[in-house]
């Protein structure tokens, strides 16, 4: 081979920070080419996809609105991923959070706003934690792979939501559509600025980002989870419980996904519908990774991912391309990041044709 990978004596900190940026750049470049291949003017398409959403204050607000659940879920996931706990079922935990919050919203709609919203948030958190807890239980008690269990539970959660909106919680005046009643005003999250849809959930997300930072980098529990993620045997040697890490990792993800689910139903939507599952749980995995499992990185990559979603909608509107092109970009972004990561531990060397030096 002409190019060889050579292990660096010390991991490159520079590459650690640059590779997410590089992968974004490469994704954008690919986007450029992709638009061209699809027969659109690349520069115009680029502008429509990536710039349009940011042109108005309404657009920026939508960006933050969309980013919020992604940031929330990714924050929770990052804690688990650092401990090598693969929670792939955040989508299901999101749904359970939405269901729980909806239940509270519908049945306690006479509570004052502050109380109701708090109750809904707690319910959302508990709902997500319950769903993640099933996975944690099966993993710690029966050693069952958490990837597959949490994923299967996503499908179960979708059916569960369907049942609620077709059955007990169906809006009697809803013309038979699978949805609940619209929430009363006191069950809706207050917006932050007049005329813009971004709401309180953004502050909640920022709050949890700070909590996560302290937990991961300053707390002993966070340290213990890190160790169990890096080296199980060292974790046992130190007397740190791997089971605790698994529970904590999954419950953190579940709690955040659950709150995100609550913010979804008590945001602009204002109800639980059969379309509650929108892929945020999976997109958040990418957000967590691109953000290097670091709260600051997650904040920015959440915004980026939201931009890709909005761009997809713009592309559908103005470029006549399916909205799923946004997801294509998301996948590409993660691929590039995963590929560039090798440069943190290895460098490329050109070895040429000769093998022996004098």
């Amino acid at each position: 081979m002409l190019l060889k990978f050579e292990k660096r004596p010390v991991a490159s900190e520079l590459m650690r920070y640059i590779s997410p940026v590089l992968s974004i750049a490469m994704t954008l470049a690919c986007g450029f080419i992709l638009f061209g291949l699809l027969g659109k003017d690349p520069i115009k398409a680029f502008e429509i996809f990536f710039i349009n959403p940011l042109k108005t204050s309404y657009g920026i607000s939508e960006l933050f609105l969309k980013a919020t659940p992604l940031i929330l879920i990714a924050t929770g996931l990052s804690i688990g991923f650092r401990a090598n706990v693969w929670n792939i079922g955040a989508e299901g935990q999101f749904i359970l959070g939405a269901i729980a919050a909806t239940g509270v919203a519908i049945h306690f709609d006479y509570h004052p706003k502050l109380l109701l919203l708090t109750e809904m948030a707690i319910a959302g958190m508990l709902g997500g934690m319950l769903w993640a807890g099933i996975t944690a239980f099966l993993r710690t008690r029966f050693n069952t792979n958490e990837i597959l269990v949490s994923l299967m539970l996503v499908y179960v959660a979708q059916y569960l939501a369907e049942w609620f909106v077709h059955g007990p919680w169906k809006d009697p005046d809803g013309f038979g559509f699978p949805q609940t009643v619209l929430f009363t005003e006191n069950a809706l999250l207050p917006t932050l600025f007049d005329g813009l849809r971004v709401n309180l959930s953004l502050l909640v997300a920022l709050f949890f980002l700070v909590i996560a930072y302290i937990f991961i980098f300053k707390s002993f529990s966070g340290f213990k989870m890190l160790v169990s993620g890096y080296a199980k045997a060292a974790s046992r040697y130190a007397g740190f419980s791997i089971n605790s890490s698994v529970w904590l990792g999954l419950l953190a993800g579940g709690a955040m996904a659950g709150i995100a689910g609550m913010t979804d139903v008590s945001g602009p939507g204002g109800q639980l519908t059969a379309h509650i599952s929108n892929g945020y749980g999976f997109a958040a995995i990418i957000v967590a990774y691109v953000g290097r499992l670091h709260p600051v990185g997650i904040f920015f990559s959440g915004l980026l991912m939201a931009l890709l979603y909005l761009g997809g909608e713009q592309a559908q509107h103005y470029l006549n391309l399916p909205a799923s092109i946004g997801r294509v970009f998301q996948g590409m972004l993660l691929f590039f990041l995963l590929g560039l990561d090798i440069l943190v531990q290895y460098r490329i060397r050109y070895t040429g044709f000769t093998r022996k030096e004098a």
């Binding site: 707390s219 529990s221 340290f223 080296a231 060292a234 007397g239």
Partner: protein, 516 residues
């Protein structure tokens, strides 16, 4: 031992072999000459560059410079398959066997054009009879003992009728009786004209077996000699470059029992592991108890039980400073004054990707550095820095990643970290394995000093010599059982060697025969 053929053409000749890995020069201008039918030792301590040299001869790696002559022809061995075709066979130190496959499947994988499995099984049986290496071809490798596994490796090489057999540290996993058997086989092979390259750091074996020895130190050849004309001391001097200093051994009067194991029997969690049977052990303050034995006889399981990485069913089976700890986890036992240096540095004793500072935090009970759930990093850093200084750890400060340190330095850090916890009982597994001689001496001396201060020390080691150097009492572990304990001065290497095969006299040890 005059079996060398009188042909003047060397079978294998290396001239100026050099291998550079990035900035590390593993081999530098190595010259080597092996005659047909010769048993040629390559002598050097851990890290001297022996394995790298063998990899080049076997074609696993390519030299950066130098020439290799096979039967007088300038040859370039580019891969193991070519090496095998030339007639070079290699028995690896850490066996190249696949545990879930059978013997015959493993042998088939090691051959380039194997016959059908049935025929191959017959061939295997034939060779095994000829050289007295009994093995059942259809057994799964994971059911074999270590000695049997080595036989498979050797038979695999012999099936290709090698002219040169490379053996990499073959006796590190064998009991003395098995070593004698191996030597007989090797002598038979040499008499038939096969040359043997014998890589080792065990001086007495090389003296007993080999015709010639090439001594390697720091990647260079420092001497060639005839072992029969040398003494172990003179060879050691060539290998290390200086005389071994004797240890300062002062007599001590042991105090109370700080670590006690009473009648412990437990099954291993590993399906390929050894079950422990009725273990009795007592280590007193101010003494070093050495546990001899070949790895794979239950040491792993014993250590898991003592350290708290595995819990046992009876809480009073293990006592530390008089407290029942059988069901207590590792952290709890540390709080009682236990420290433990495990066999695996990277991955168990330390997290490779984390800094030395973070690795210090792994086992820190005192001083207390966790307040309200948060870690006080400056205190941890101070601790790590103190450890680095006191124990002469060569690194780039407490922020260096554990995996960037050499084996010896990382071991010094881990030992230091544990000692700085001021333990009452300290347990060490293979404390000087893979460690350069300077660090090994340092560690052993440190242990002696600890013992003089009244710490109870348990050392589990494969190196009988090391145990004889530092222990007050010795016991042998074989097949999950412990032999009677003897004062070091009352026994010798031969007796311990025999006991390592499990052949010790049954004395009046309390026989609480718990079912495993």
């Amino acid at each position: 031992m005059n079996t060398m053929a009188s042909s003047p053409t060397p079978l294998l000749e290396l001239k100026g072999m050099r291998k550079v890995y990035q900035t590390v020069v593993a081999n530098d201008h190595i010259d080597l000459c092996v005659l047909p039918g010769e048993i040629h030792a390559v002598l050097g301590e851990n890290g001297a560059g022996k394995s790298t040299l063998m990899k080049m001869i076997y074609g696993v790696t390519q030299p950066t410079a130098g020439k290799l002559f096979w039967q007088g022809q300038d040859t370039n061995i580019s891969n193991p398959s070519q090496a095998r075709k030339l007639g070079i066979g290699m028995v690896f130190q850490h066996f190249s066997l696949f545990e879930t496959l059978s013997v015959v499947e493993n042998v088939a994988l090691g051959l380039d054009n194997p016959p059908k499995l049935k025929q191959l099984a017959q061939d295997i049986t034939e060779i095994s009879n000829r050289y007295e290496l009994p093995i059942d071809p259809f057994r799964s490798v994971h059911t074999l003992s270590v000695g049997e596994m080595q036989r498979v490796e050797i038979i695999r090489c012999l099936l290709q009728e090698p002219k040169l057999l490379i053996m990499d540290e073959p006796t590190s996993v064998l009991a003395p009786s098995a070593v004698r058997k191996l030597f007989e086989t090797l002598r038979q092979l040499a008499a038939e004209g096969c040359s043997i390259l014998y890589i080792s750091h065990k001086l007495d074996e090389i003296q007993a077996l080999c015709h010639t020895a090439t001594v390697i130190r720091s990647g260079k050849v420092v001497a060639t000699c005839t072992p029969a004309n040398e003494t172990p001391q003179s060879m050691a001097r060539m290998m290390i470059g200086k005389d071994l200093t004797a240890y300062k051994h002062q007599a001590s009067i042991p105090g109370e029992t700080l670590l006690k194991i009473s009648g412990m029997s437990c099954a291993s969690n590993d399906p390929f592991g050894i079950h422990l049977n009725n273990i009795h052990l007592a280590v007193r303050a101010g003494e070093i108890l050495g546990v001899a034995g070949i790895s794979g006889n239950g040491q792993k399981e014993l250590l898991y039980a003592i350290s708290g990485e595995e819990l046992v069913s009876q809480s009073d089976a293990i006592q530390i400073c008089g407290v029942n700890v059988g069901k207590m986890n590792a952290r709890g036992r540390r709080q009682l004054g236990l420290s433990f240096v495990p066999e695996e540095r990277l991955g168990r004793g330390a997290v490779p990707e984390m800094s030395l500072q973070d690795n210090a935090l792994l086992t820190m009970i005192k001083p207390v550095v966790v307040e309200h759930g948060l870690v006080q990093s400056d205190k941890v850093r101070a601790y790590a820095s103190a450890c680095i200084e006191k124990f002469d750890v060569k690194c780039n400060g407490p922020q260096s990643e554990a995996q960037s340190l050499s084996g010896g330095n990382l071991q010094k850090f881990i030992v230091g970290r544990e000692i700085m916890q001021d333990p009452k009982v300290i347990v060490l597994a293979q404390p000087t394995w893979g460690v350069d001689i300077g660090a090994a001496l340092f560690i052993r001396q440190t242990l002696l000093e600890l013992r003089n201060k009244g710490v109870a020390i348990l050392v589990i080691s494969e190196e009988i010599d090391e145990l004889f150097e530092i222990s007050d009492r010795i016991v042998v572990m074989a097949d999950g059982k412990l032999s009677p304990t003897k004062l070091t001065q009352d026994t010798n290497v031969e007796e311990i060697g025999v006991w390592m095969s499990g052949l010790w006299p049954e004395t009046d040890q309390p026989t609480a025969l718990a079912a495993v």
